[in-house]
């Protein structure tokens, strides 16, 4: 596992420099310090319980989004990492099982995220403690509870990915059951959310039983997932009837992008990424819907999280989808063809818009119905689309074809935060102020959305200059 940690550090720092790699936790510490420093102002606008629940939901999603470890063995066998190889592939040639390397990889990743993400956040809050009213033990308690929530999310995704490889039908049933339980917990009083995600109960009620329950469930899920990890992978040749020309014809209105879009779309279909992406986009949106509803209806929070607030947040999840699009397949072979990196980035952005537009609209409309605010859709939908386009294009501009790696890089994540956080916060605050001064809030929301749309066009044009010299080599 130690060797895997070193491998991970070298792989991540390969994107820029060793120094930049270690700047990432530093940037997180600075952000957390700022949050801690302005803690008094934060709890004035959002009650502490609301902040904690939102933080835990975010951390849970973070864990879920990074935890599909059972897929790794197959990806290694399929050589989807191109020329890059990992210790994880050792079972192909060495007397060691995929179960062993996958579980070591899992523990390594958990330790990596504890050390480089969660601990720097806690450190930032601890550093700001002398300037705020919270106590040092409360920081330590928060650190422990978010580690529990993250581990739970990680184990959940690990187990679900293992089930997916065994039986997609069983995976579908379990995923549906989990979502249904979440919905019951969120929309009714029949099942407290703390029972389903005990670390949240641990945070809010400081109940040691919840601590034990979280650890037990996390260990059990991890163990089940590890037992289910496959040792051999289907090596039968998959055959498909020629479909490229038909796809290219369907995309012909996109001109020179048509062949790239056809190829990207076939990749999505055949790698089953379309289902996974739709699922991984829908899950956070369900979480978000539930948390917004939960905050509005169960905590007695004075502020109203309306459909426009929700729409702004929906757009932000575009980062994940764009990241997925860059993770489906190798790209090295493009270096042999007359095509540039910016052209492929733009093709992926077009695919992004095709994939997300419908889902985004569906969730915003759904939330408008749940909140009984369908009259706000005229504002909420443009906000959702402009935020989505803005976030995706900003991500593409900053990270190119290496989103996963680049977003663990200090300077990149700092620039990403500077570009994306202010308009998202503006939308959030303005939507919260809608009840107090509707006309003014509406005007400003319109202005912010229009501003984001303009910057989106600008960043889209700047992608050429920023990435024209880049190559398609992964590392």
């Amino acid at each position: 596992m130690g060797l895997m940690m070193r491998e991970e550090a070298r792989f991540q720092s390969n994107f820029t420099s060793k120094l930049s790699f270690y700047e990432f936790p530093l940037v997180l510490t600075l952000f957390a310090f700022a949050a801690g420093y302005f803690y008094e102002e934060l709890i004035r606008t959002s009650p502490l319980t609301q902040l904690l629940v939102t933080l835990h939901f975010s951390i849970l999603l973070y864990g879920v989004s990074t935890g599909a470890f059972a897929f790794l063995g197959k990806e290694i066998v399929d050589r989807r990492f191109g020329n890059v190889n990992f210790l994880l592939s050792a079972p192909i040639t060495q007397p060691i099982q995929f179960k062993t390397t996958t579980s070591a990889f899992y523990l390594k990743d958990a330790a990596y995220y504890f050390a480089f993400t969660l601990t720097p956040i806690a450190a930032g809050l601890a550093l700001a403690q002398p300037f705020s009213s919270y106590t040092m033990p409360s920081v330590l308690f928060l650190w422990l509870s978010v580690i529990l929530t993250f581990s739970f999310g990680l184990a959940l995704a690990y187990a679900f990915s293992a089930v997916y490889l065994k039986s997609r039908r069983l995976f579908g049933a379990l995923a549906f059951a989990f979502m249904a339980l979440l919905a019951i917990a969120g929309f009714t009083d029949l099942l407290p959310i703390g029972v389903l995600i005990p670390s949240i109960h641990f945070q809010l009620a400081k109940d040691p039983l919840s601590l034990v329950a979280t650890v037990a469930i996390t260990v059990a899920l991890s163990w089940i997932a590890t037992v289910m990890v496959q040792e051999t992978f289907e090596s039968a040749e998959s055959e498909f009837k020629e479909n490229f020309l038909e796809r290219a014809r369907r995309f012909r209105r996109f001109g020179r992008y048509a062949p790239l879009l056809a190829k990207e779309w076939i990749d999505l279909e055949r790698s089953h990424a379309l289902t996974k992406m739709a699922f991984s986009f829908a899950v956070p949106l369900v979480f978000l819907s539930l948390s917004v509803w939960f905050l509005n209806n169960t905590l007695g929070v004075a502020l109203k999280f309306d459909t426009v607030f929700y729409a702004g947040n929906v757009g932000f999840f575009g980062v994940m989808i764009y990241s997925w699009l860059n993770h489906i397949d190798i790209t090295e072979y493009y270096d042999t063809l007359p095509i540039t990196v910016p052209r492929l980035i733009k093709a992926k952005l077009i695919v992004f818009f095709i994939v997300t537009t419908g889902i985004t609209a569906f969730f915003v409309i759904l939330m408008a119905f749940v909140n009984e605010e369908t009259w706000k859709l005229a504002v909420a939908l443009p906000v959702a689309f402009s935020t989505s386009a803005y976030t995706a294009v900003a991500t593409a501009y900053l990270t190119g074809l290496r989103t996963n790696t680049a977003l663990l890089n200090g300077p990149v994540i700092a620039r990403f935060a500077i570009i994306t956080v202010p308009p998202l916060l503006a939308i959030a605050f303005l939507s919260l102020g809608y009840e107090l001064f509707p006309s003014l809030a509406l005007q400003w929301i319109g202005l912010v959305a229009a501003g984001m749309a303009l910057i989106t066009v600008l960043l889209y044009a700047l992608i050429d200059g920023r990435w024209v010299k880049a190559t398609f080599q992964r590392a």
Binding site: E332, Y333, T336
Partner: protein
């Protein structure tokens, strides 16, 4: 007959004082040479000599630290797109896209290269490599040799005036090694030019017209292939002698 969008100059490749550094490593050091039009130019050297780095610079995938190069009269870095339209490239490792079938990848390449008669070209190359039964198989499920055949076909399909080949015979069985070797010899006879990096000196010695030997990033020798043979010695013998004597460093037998 090879075809090009640009006039094909002679020399087709001209390299002057080319150097490349990666952090603390000097991969190429003051490399100069010219590839005459119509040459089958072999670039040889031990592992880590800088062959692939040189090929990546010449195909616009890397910028040199110093010196200059022109390929087909174009600057590889600045005119990478124009260059790639007019050359065929086979990289060191075979990496066609995972989720396209063989025929679909070749269709994709034809579309990107704007070839109107893609179907006939694809049929020709699938036949050449006896891949009719593999045409609907996803690239990720193919053997290394089959993937290599696809990368070769994708580099040959537009019949450019210049081919850059990095270990083109690797993973091919002797039948296809010979078939590819014969095609490349015919390609040069028809007026095409080739820049090839290879460790398979037995084949290279038979097909190359000129050779460049690199060691630790520097040019050890260059000239017509005949100058590397004679007195019962072939290219491999001369190469080993040069590396062990001129290279200066002790090597294991």
């Amino acid at each position: 007959m090879p075809s090009a969008e640009v006039a094909v100059p002679d020399p087709i490749i001209a390299v002057k004082g080319l150097s490349k550094s990666f952090k603390n490593t000097r991969a190429l050091e003051n490399v100069s040479f010219k590839v005459p039009r119509g040459a089958f130019y072999g670039c040889f050297g031990p592992n880590g000599a800088g062959k692939s780095t040189l090929l990546r610079i010449l195909t616009g995938q890397l910028e040199p630290s110093d010196g200059s190069a022109t390929v087909l009269g174009l600057a590889p870095g600045a005119d990478a797109l124009a260059l790639k339209r007019n050359v065929g490239i086979v990289p060191e490792s075979e990496t066609p896209p995972s989720f396209l079938t063989a025929v679909e990848y070749l269709e994709f390449v034809c579309r990107l290269r704007g070839l109107d008669d893609g179907e006939a070209r694809i049929t020709k190359w699938l036949d050449f490599f006896d891949m009719a039964d593999k045409k609907d198989t996803l690239c990720k499920d193919m053997s290394k040799g089959t993937r290599q055949k696809i990368m070769l076909a994708s580099a040959f399909i537009h019949l450019p005036p210049l081919l850059f080949l990095d270990e083109p015979f690797i993973n091919l069985d002797p039948i296809y090694q010979r078939r590819v070797r014969d095609f490349l010899a015919d390609f040069v006879k028809a007026g095409g030019s080739i820049f090839m990096c290879s460790h398979i000196l037995e084949i290279a010695g038979k097909v190359c017209t000129d050779a460049l030997i690199l060691d630790r990033g520097a040019v050890l020798a260059q000239g017509p292939i005949a100058s590397f043979k004679g007195d019962g010695r072939d290219l491999a013998d001369t190469f080993l002698d040069m590396i062990e004597t001129k290279g200066g460093a002790p090597r294991l037998a």
